[in-house]
């Protein structure tokens, strides 16, 4: 049925790749049919994501951003997978998926607002089926399973895609969520962004299995290892998994082999725990470079357009950040208003007491 998942067996350490690091097609037969407009949206998002990401790190160094988890290097893992999903589908985040978020309709403004420490940054637009950034590692998998369960029960045809890091696969919550999804054949796709590190800890230090994709065996579901810097391979794997999910055949586990080019977050210094040579090696495998070459080869894109896109994206990023930066503090009321639908008497009292303090002391 899903030959792809049989062909590439993680137990044999086979990895799906279509577009190699130089932007050459290495597996002609497998090139997925992707609409031009989809490819363009993927590419444009990748450029915007890259620029936003690099700028965010800069802003943080300037003391203008609180903290930030850079995506640089992981763009194809995100965009290749999210682009294979449909509008009605659900996206469940870990926390390093700026590109998937942007593609799916979260605005750059919202994302910046979040990283600047404002809850409104997780209030995505009504029609955007995206759950907010998920900080407790691993716990998002069962949220995805729950969304997928509801989709299945209501027969909406929605499929849920959920991301997790390599380190996250060690968490008990990963296991429970995966097992839950497989037990009920839920329409769900799990993307492991194996970026080789969990903060300072290299993936092989705490995880003994040769691949992460092989963890699928534990749940009796397909697992596949994919070159995560190859947008075409990621698209194909996700598309195939989505077909399977939509047919009611259950979840699929996709390991995207990629690399975090930057720091874990802006408060981390990767020089402490990894060699420059390793980073340089991965620099060669950059997803943006190879995707650009593919787009130009395909005549969907040109150097000129690229230059314009970079300029407009940069402008967008700077303007958006400026706008967000100027927004200031959240309203006092907002701190209290969203704990319950209706504020409890105790909470009302706490807010009033504090307001009284502000009034009395603020006056002085």
């Amino acid at each position: 049925m899903y030959m792809l998942f049989e062909e590439f067996d993680p137990l044999k350490e086979e990895m799906l790749q279509i577009l190699d690091k130089d932007g050459k097609i290495v597996n002609d037969k497998l090139v997925p049919k992707i609409k031009k407009e989809t490819l363009l949206k993927m590419y444009k998002t990748m450029v915007l994501g890259r620029i936003a990401d690099d700028k965010a790190v800069q802003f943080q160094r300037q003391g203008r951003m609180l903290t930030y988890a850079p995506n640089h290097g992981q763009e194809a893992a995100q965009l290749g997978s999210i682009a294979a999903m449909e509008d009605k589908d659900w996206l469940v985040l870990a926390f390093r998926e700026l590109n998937s978020m942007l593609y799916k309709g979260v605005t750059l403004k919202q994302s910046f607002l979040y990283w600047l420490g404002n809850e409104w940054g997780s209030r995505y637009d009504d029609n955007v089926n995206v759950l907010p950034v998920n900080v407790p590692i691993g716990s998002q998998i069962s949220h995805a399973a729950g969304l997928a369960y509801a989709s299945k029960l209501k027969e909406t045809g929605e499929v849920t895609i959920v991301y997790i890091g390599d380190g996250g696969t060690s968490h008990g919550e990963f296991h429970e969520g995966m097992n839950f999804a497989s037990a009920y054949d839920l329409p769900m796709i799990v993307i492991i962004q194996n970026n080789q590190y969990a903060i300072s800890t290299p993936r092989h230090k705490t995880i003994n299995s040769k691949t992460l994709a092989q963890k699928a065996v534990s749940y009796g579901i397909p697992g596949i290892q994919v070159d995560g810097n190859d947008p075409l391979a990621m698209f194909l794997a996700t598309q195939t998994a989505r077909e399977r999910a939509a047919k009611g055949e259950g979840p699929t586990l996709i390991e995207a082999v990629t690399y975090r080019m930057g720091a874990h977050t802006t408060s981390d210094n990767p020089k402490l725990y990894r060699e420059d040579s390793e980073v340089e090696e991965w620099e060669e495998k950059d997803p943006l470079k190879r995707f650009k070459k593919y787009m130009i080869d395909k005549k969907y894109w040109s150097e000129k357009k690229d230059k314009e896109l970079h300029e407009s994206s940069k402008k967008e990023v700077l303007n958006t950040f400026k706008e967000v930066e100027d927004m200031g503090l959240v309203d006092l009321g907002d701190i209290f208003k969203y704990t319950y639908e209706t504020m409890t008497p105790e909470l009302t009292k706490q807010m009033e007491d504090y307001q009284e303090y502000l009034d009395e002391e603020g006056a002085k």
Binding site: W90, V92, E119, W120, S122, R123, Y124, D126, L131, P132, V135, P136, S139, I141, S142, H143, A144, A145, G146, L147, A148, Y149, A150, S151, K152, L153, K154, E158, T160, G172, E173, E176, G177, N179, F180, A183, Y184, D334, Y338, T339, Y340, E341, T344, P345, E346, L347
Partner: protein
């Protein structure tokens, strides 16, 4: 009207909620085919099918976590933790997610979900089957915690919890699951969350209890005929009905809080503190806590001492009344 136990009343509430609203789903360990180890969900799978009533893996975090996803995607999940002691592996999900999604997304996603869990001692059970963990849930902003003490309230609170737009924890006093029956309405009804019940009015002192201990307090006060106690069944631990407590204490000037949870940092401390804050100068005696000891609930051969019996309540009432103002 029909005469029902607490267990039957809960079953009734689940049944009528599922009947009325297709989005209600019920699941947990052994909840489906067997109808739960206490049979609270008996008959539901047969009636509503395997998709709406089902057995899960032994995975409390996934049970709670999936309920969060379902609630976001239009369902009203009602999940069971087999015993409250086994809710702890799901505690991370409850605290970091269930309690927070509304606030985290500034109201975009809210979670109409219910987590039911049998709780408390007195059933001669082994370890982890007897805990009273109210504090762990009541201390968490964003959660509501209710505990019925009668069949009437069991049905009404369960239905109110299912209809509530926010996550509600129901701790069910399993010791009295089948202990007595009460005539309760056949039709659906709600008992308002956040409102205590005055079991008996009185003027000499205020006794606050909930769950299985309400009856023990009632029994105790039959032994202390000369004291006219006002007995309050708190029913909702959080958000607490402070007003009812304060009004009563202002009248009586004396207060005894009785619970089975361990004493230190337990629920009685919050009640005493609220009374201090709002009725301090009405107090004629130091508020008293009669609670579980600060130990792991003993296994059955020692539980005898841990369980709070009417005699001990009566003893504390007498001591409290003897304190002069």
């Amino acid at each position: 009207m029909a005469v029902k136990t607490i267990l039957q009343a809960i079953n009734d509430a689940l049944d009528q909620s599922m009947e009325k609203d297709d989005s209600v789903v019920v699941y947990g360990e052994d909840v489906g085919f067997e109808g739960g180890v206490f049979r609270a969900t008996a008959g539901l799978q047969k009636k509503y099918g395997e998709k709406r009533v089902f057995d899960t893996p032994i995975a409390e975090a996934a049970i709670v976590g999936s309920a969060i996803g379902m609630a976001i995607n239009g369902l009203r999940p009602v999940v069971e933790m087999q015993f409250s002691g086994f809710s702890l592996p799901g505690y991370n999900q409850i605290v970091t997610h269930a309690a927070r999604f509304r606030n985290r997304t500034r109201g975009k996603y809210h979670l109409p979900m219910v987590v039911r869990m049998p709780y408390g001692g007195g059933v001669r059970a082994l370890e982890h089957h007897s805990e009273s963990l109210e504090t762990l849930y009541a201390h968490i902003p964003g959660l509501k915690l209710v505990i019925p003490s009668t069949p009437y309230d069991a049905k009404g609170l369960t239905m109110a919890a299912i209809n509530d737009p926010d996550p509600v924890i129901i701790m069910e006093p399993k010791r009295i699951y089948r202990a007595f029956k009460q005539d309760i309405p056949d039709e659906p009804y709600e008992v308002e969350i956040g409102k205590a019940r005055i079991v008996k009015e009185g003027k000499d002192l205020t006794i606050i209890a909930w769950g299985a201990l309400v009856r023990e307090v009632e029994k105790a006060m039959k032994q202390v005929k000369d004291v006219d106690a006002e007995i309050i069944d708190l029913r909702t631990i959080s958000p607490m009905d402070t007003e009812t407590i304060i009004e009563s204490v202002k009248k009586t000037g004396r207060v005894l809080v009785v619970h089975e949870a361990v004493k230190s940092f337990g629920p009685a401390a919050e009640i005493v503190s609220r009374i201090n804050e709002e009725a301090f100068f009405y107090l004629e005696a130091a508020p008293k806590r009669l609670t579980g000891f600060d130990v792991t609930v003993p296994l059955p051969k020692g539980e005898e001492h841990f369980i709070i019996k009417p005699e001990r309540i009566a003893y504390e009432v007498k001591k409290l009344m003897a304190q002069k103002a």
